[in-house]
């Protein structure tokens, strides 16, 4: 960002500081504690887990010759710390304010993130708390916003049933993300009719009212854990309705987030008058075969730069 003078830079920095502090106050009031994330990730681990496109990572070599990555995603950094020091039965609620680094347009770009995570709790109450908190944050700044909720774990499960080649799978995922029904039909036409093919032919119809979508999905042979996740999300939507805020939420099964680690629902928050994503979040499971560890997590992050751009100097 360019500033014409130090006074302008100071004014902007303090404006941003006040906005961020105001949001953090809301997190603290709900009992969330501040945690600093590890700025480095293991390159090999990211490649194995296929969490993110390696071309987008900012790599560096440590004195031992090992390739490290400057944090590309705060949640992953937190997960690494949590994994090492986790003990059975622990439940922690944290918030963070940190930076992530990515390669974009052949340059290193820095993104400032502010967010919350809750580890060690599988219950739907926590999901509801996180969805409500995301709603609170957006509602602080505008009346006209939307939280899009998806369940990419169902999409990935159905994708596995198609037995596609790696590149076909990528094309299909991209086509779903782009709502490109023409390209989807082109891929499916070459395949024999089965449950998966029927699912993807209708992928853009599974949106809107989650109760109706859930009924539609009953004809597919989904495993118990996915049905449980869907029921839990349905319960959350009913609660959001009781709170009178459900109109700001929209369920769309064709919404697939950039990171594929979400084990149940995931969501994005947008303002009507801003061309970008302000909030990103969802539920995931931290697995570690070495330590025989399974830790559930749920949370969201706020794109600070986008939020500030949207506000354009407006006070809360």
């Amino acid at each position: 960002m360019y500033f014409s003078g130090i006074k302008e830079k100071l004014r902007f920095s303090n404006y941003k500081y006040n906005i961020v502090t105001e949001i953090e106050k809301g997190f603290i009031d709900r009992g969330y504690l501040y945690l600093e994330a590890n700025p480095f990730e293991e390159y090999e681990q990211i490649v194995i887990e296929q969490r993110v496109n390696p071309e987008k990572l900012v790599k560096l070599v440590d004195p031992q010759g090992k390739i490290k990555v400057l944090s590309s995603d705060i949640t992953s950094g937190l997960i690494e710390d949590i994994k090492r020091q986790w003990s059975e039965g622990l439940e922690i609620k944290v918030f963070y304010r940190d930076r992530v680094y990515k390669i974009k347009d052949d340059n290193i770009k820095i993104f400032e993130k502010l967010g919350v995570e809750c580890f060690g709790n599988f219950s739907y109450d926590v999901d509801l708390e996180i969805l409500s908190m995301a709603h609170e944050v957006l509602n602080k700044f505008s009346d006209n916003f939307l939280i899009e909720v998806g369940m990419s774990s169902i999409v990935y499960y159905m994708l596995d049933s198609l037995e596609l080649k790696k590149n076909e799978r990528e094309v299909l995922i991209n086509s779903i993300s782009n709502k490109d029904s023409y390209e989807i039909r082109k891929i499916l036409k070459q395949m024999e009719d089965n449950e998966g093919v029927e699912f993807f032919y209708n992928i853009f119809n599974y949106r809107g009212n989650i109760i109706e979508v859930k009924k539609e999905l009953e004809k597919f042979n989904l495993p118990k854990y996915l049905i449980k996740s869907l029921c839990s999300l349905e319960k959350n939507f009913i609660e959001l309705e009781k709170k009178g805020i459900v109109d700001n939420f929209y369920f769309d099964l064709s919404f697939i987030p950039e990171f594929n680690y979400y084990s149940a629902f995931s969501f994005r928050g947008y303002f009507e008058d801003y061309n970008g994503e302000i909030i990103k979040g969802g539920r995931y499971i931290l697995n570690s075969t070495e330590e025989d560890l399974v830790v559930p997590g749920v949370g969201f992050s706020i794109e600070v730069a986008d939020l500030i751009k949207h506000l354009g100097g407006k006070l809360i």
Binding site: N144, K179, D180, S181, Y182, Y250, Y270, E272, G276
Partner: protein, 211 residues
């Protein structure tokens, strides 16, 4: 909520307007013979905007317009972060590789010189095939490049093939089928889904969909 729509100027736009005129709701709103660039349908809060075909993807991606009609070649070249809601059966053509009829030896070259207005598509296509190329980026009259010795081949849109033939060129390989696409800004589509779906359904009744 106002719905803003980008229509490309030129041949493709003329075909889009023809379909619009065949739908009662949108009949005689956009006047292709006028020099005006903005047309309003006040009763439904729709604004039609005439822009250059090459700029439609930028306007829609940047949320200046909610949806837009443009050639699939522009979508493939500019790779905008937009939804591609559907393809229409207008503006149908092919993106092809063409060379001088008397020059078939270019395939043996280690580095093929390609003249095109589609550098991204060309780079991706030849990379997938493992062929090294040198791109000559041109903005028009691409057919001249092999004739004047600037390139070995061209990558360009081919409709009838008449322009190629008249310049002594012929198609060596068809790369992609191209037609008009209807694209939408990702945020606009989330907030104006009802309005956009309604417009698409009405437009569909004009019979321009590939299905």
């Amino acid at each position: 909520m106002t719905l803003s729509i980008a229509i490309p100027k030129g041949r493709l736009g003329a075909q889009v307007i023809k379909v619009l005129n065949s739908v009662n709701l949108y009949k005689d709103i956009v006047d292709n013979s006028s020099r005006k660039l903005v047309f309003f349908k006040n009763d439904e809060n729709i604004v039609f905007n005439m822009v250059k075909n090459a700029d439609v993807t930028t306007y829609v991606e940047e949320k200046v317009f909610d949806i837009g009609f443009t050639g699939m070649d522009m979508v493939m070249e500019n790779k905008p972060n937009v939804y591609i809601l559907d393809r229409l059966n207008i503006g149908v053509c092919k993106l092809s590789i063409a060379a001088l009829s008397n020059n078939k030896d270019f395939k043996d070259k280690r580095l093929i010189r390609v003249a095109t207005s589609y550098p991204t598509i060309s780079k991706d296509y030849f990379k997938d095939k493992g062929i090294d190329i040198n791109i000559m980026n041109l903005n028009g009259s691409v057919e001249l490049a092999p004739v004047l010795g600037l390139s070995d081949v061209i990558v360009d849109i081919v409709e009838t093939g008449n322009t190629l033939r008249e310049n002594g060129l012929e198609v060596v390989e068809d790369m992609y089928e191209i037609s008009c696409a209807l694209i939408a800004n990702k945020i606009s589509y989330k907030f104006k889904r009802k309005e956009i779906d309604e417009f698409i359904n009405n437009f569909k009744s004009g019979g321009a969909y590939e299905g």
